[in-house]
């Protein structure tokens, strides 16, 4: 929980990940022989010691989060902005934000009060291009603080709900990173049958960018960890998962048929809560890109169910993060995953 909070309260907006990548690099250094940030900005590491005679498993999760970017500075310190990643316009009015410029500036995305709506415009739909950030400063005062192109963070501190459920912006995909870090912790004293490589990639929300440039030459299997849709009353029941249902194991052409089956068997044998998700084509995750790197990489996709994806109030059950961590650890530490 602590680690998840720390991860979720970090910035790392798609395209502006440097600072967050550096803090992840530091976190990995206690587990890894070699940690570096590659040319694209992704964090790549070898867990403990690398042995040329062993097969290699890659654990991958994207480190970026969706956000906004300043596109214009208007009179009285109002800002126009654009989305970085998939944002539902309807979730933005009355949001609190930080503009991450030379200084970090608090602001709100305004919304017209109900008093000022005439009957006809009552259903007026507000598009993102018509919304504005109110910084409370004058245009003149803003000049030395921020500029066009600065990223904007949707503000929503990590908070605990009932039981093991938590809510925050950026749980997509800080939940996935937390699961991998947890798994590494479980594996730190184990005898390992495989080399373990870690990649925390950038730019996933902008089109799976970072995953395209990971060095996968020696990788025999990639386990991609991301989030999937949690069940809510307004979403269709198929393809969405109740929070607390464990590790969600995906099946379909994007994923290796045989190895995925072994992962499911491992979950059953070890009594790890899990469910199966089916994706008939593109999973929309980095697995889609990684599968066709090099001479082709076998992929497994493990997901954590998450409600309200790409909003400031993303919600998960931390028990599911633990289930994914445990399943990763059980799969990679030995057994016959790669026969």
């Amino acid at each position: 929980m602590e680690i998840l909070k720390k991860l979720a309260d970090n910035s790392g907006i798609s395209g502006y990940e440097n600072e967050f990548a550096k803090s992840l690099q530091k976190m990995l250094e206690s587990y890894c022989s070699q940690v570096e940030i590659n040319k694209t900005g992704s964090v790549v590491a070898n867990f403990r010691n690398y042995d040329d005679n062993k097969k290699t498993i890659l654990l991958e999760a994207h480190l970026d989060r969706i956000g906004l970017v300043v596109s214009e500075i208007l009179e009285n310190g109002f800002l126009k902005f654009k989305a970085l990643g998939g944002v539902d316009d309807r979730t933005l009015p009355a949001s609190e934000i930080y503009v991450l410029g030379k200084e970090s500036i608090f602001g709100v995305i305004g919304a017209l009060p109900p008093h000022l709506k005439s009957g006809s415009s009552d259903d007026g739909f507000v598009k993102i291009q018509d919304m504005m950030i109110d910084t409370g400063f004058s245009k003149e005062e803003l000049k030395d603080k921020i500029s066009v192109g600065d990223p904007v963070l949707l503000k929503c501190e990590f908070c605990e709900l009932l039981g093991s459920r938590v809510s925050s912006a950026a749980l997509d995909n800080r939940a996935g990173i937390a699961a991998i870090l947890c798994a590494l912790d479980m594996l730190k004293t184990e005898d390992l049958k495989y080399n373990i490589k870690i990649a925390f990639t950038v730019g996933e929300e902008l089109g799976l960018l970072g995953a395209r440039t990971i060095d996968c030459e020696d990788v025999d299997l990639a386990i991609v960890v991301d989030v999937t849709h949690g069940k809510t009353p307004d979403a269709k029941p198929e393809g969405t998962f109740v929070l607390g249902s464990g590790a969600i194991i995906c099946r379909g052409p994007n994923l290796d048929f045989g190895i995925t089956k072994k992962v499911i068997e491992t979950a059953e044998k070890q009594g790890i809560l899990h469910d199966i998700e089916v994706s008939a084509g593109n999973t929309g995750t980095n697995a889609w890109v990684i599968q066709t790197l090099e001479q082709g990489i076998r992929c497994v996709l493990l997901s954590i169910p998450l409600r309200y994806m790409h909003t400031a109030v993303e919600t998960i059950d931390t028990d599911d993060v633990k289930s994914v961590a445990k399943l990763i650890a059980e799969c990679v530490k030995g057994g016959d995953l790669l026969a």
């Binding site: 310190g77 910084t135 004058s138």
Partner: protein
């Protein structure tokens, strides 16, 4: 004080938490304090001068919020808004449910159709998620009829202040300040309930006082955004308190407006006129009480009222307070116009 007041709980129909804060503060410098049957908090401070004019100040304690109407089998709360809330400002927000956090959102953008993304969500499509596993767990936290408020902290930013419930904790905070001092008028201060559901509290609270003048202190709409035509901006932030000439509930008393203007001019306090007739406040009911009371409204301009992120300017707040103070002083010196 404004921070404490705006962060406290006081949805129309359940104002006790905020009323308690006001009571505890006011009793330090006033002795004649009483609650009536509706929950209005009425304070009287006698003048030390002979034959003083009688002035009533009135501000409402209640804020817009939500009331739980049902608990679903899956453990979500259905709700209705208390007072005018545009459902647009509820999406991807946090609320406070009996001291616990809950979130309101909508299914992930990935699960929506292009058509759905262009349609505003109505209140009946929304629900509160507190992370409960089922109905039973949710019912232990709240029952139908329990109230929720926005989870929004008082924040100073730029040259402004952001908070929930500025409408009308502004008025409450100003009246508390005024009550700390002695005035050359017999001063009645009514902290009223249920303004947001139809000016209910003031109807009862202002009876039997028969003041010479009544001034309603409010937070009012302000739409001074780039791109909005000057005549539709209602008020301008930073330009001083706004005097209402006419709104949907009442016409300001000309004689009293003239006195307010005279005091403002004499003491160099900036003020503006509210340039819209939309919205109404307690003045609407006070001016027809006991055969009629000369009533006017003085308001601090607030952007985005009735949302979690109301924004006001500190100098407008100070100038509103000062204008009321010099008005009371001048009233004691000059007496009533129709003496």
């Amino acid at each position: 004080m404004l921070k404490k007041l705006t962060e406290s709980f006081g949805v129309s129909g359940y104002e006790m938490p905020v009323a308690d804060i006001i009571y505890e503060e006011v009793k330090k410098f006033c002795t004649d304090i009483k609650f009536d049957n509706m929950g209005n908090l009425k304070v009287f401070k006698r003048s030390k001068t002979e034959l003083p004019p009688k002035v009533l100040l009135s501000a409402h304690m209640d804020e817009v919020g939500l009331i739980i109407t049902d608990v679903t089998e899956e453990g979500y709360f259905k709700f209705a808004s208390v007072g005018g809330i545009d459902p647009k400002v509820l999406i991807a927000q946090r609320v406070n449910v009996n001291g616990l956090k809950g979130v309101i959102s909508t299914k992930a953008v990935h699960l929506t159709t292009a058509e759905e993304r262009k349609q505003n969500l109505s209140e009946d499509k929304l629900y509160i998620d507190i992370g409960a596993k089922d109905k039973n767990e949710a019912q232990k936290v709240a029952k139908p009829g329990d109230y929720c408020v926005f989870d929004s902290k008082y924040t100073e930013f730029g040259n402004q202040i952001k908070a929930k419930a500025l409408d009308d904790r502004i008025g409450c905070a100003i009246m508390i300040e005024i009550l700390k001092k002695d005035w050359p008028v017999d001063l009645y201060c009514n902290f009223t309930v249920q303004e947001e559901v139809g000016l209910r509290g003031a109807r009862v609270a202002s009876r039997g006082i028969n003041p010479d003048y009544a001034v309603v202190i409010e937070g009012t709409t302000c739409n001074d955004l780039p791109g909005v035509e000057a005549n539709l901006r209602v008020t301008k932030i930073g330009a001083g308190p706004a005097i209402s000439i006419l709104d949907s509930a009442s016409k300001g008393n000309e004689e009293l407006i003239a006195l307010l203007e005279k005091s403002a001019t004499r003491h160099n306090i900036p003020y503006q006129f509210k340039a819209s007739t939309a919205g109404g406040n307690d003045a609407g009911t006070i001016c027809i009480t006991d055969g009629g009371i000369k009533t006017a409204s003085l308001s601090v301009p607030c952007r985005y009222i009735h949302s979690p992120v109301c924004v006001m300017n500190k100098s407008d707040f100070e100038n509103c307070r000062r204008l009321i103070e010099v008005f009371l002083e001048d009233m004691g010196k000059d007496g009533k116009i129709n003496d």
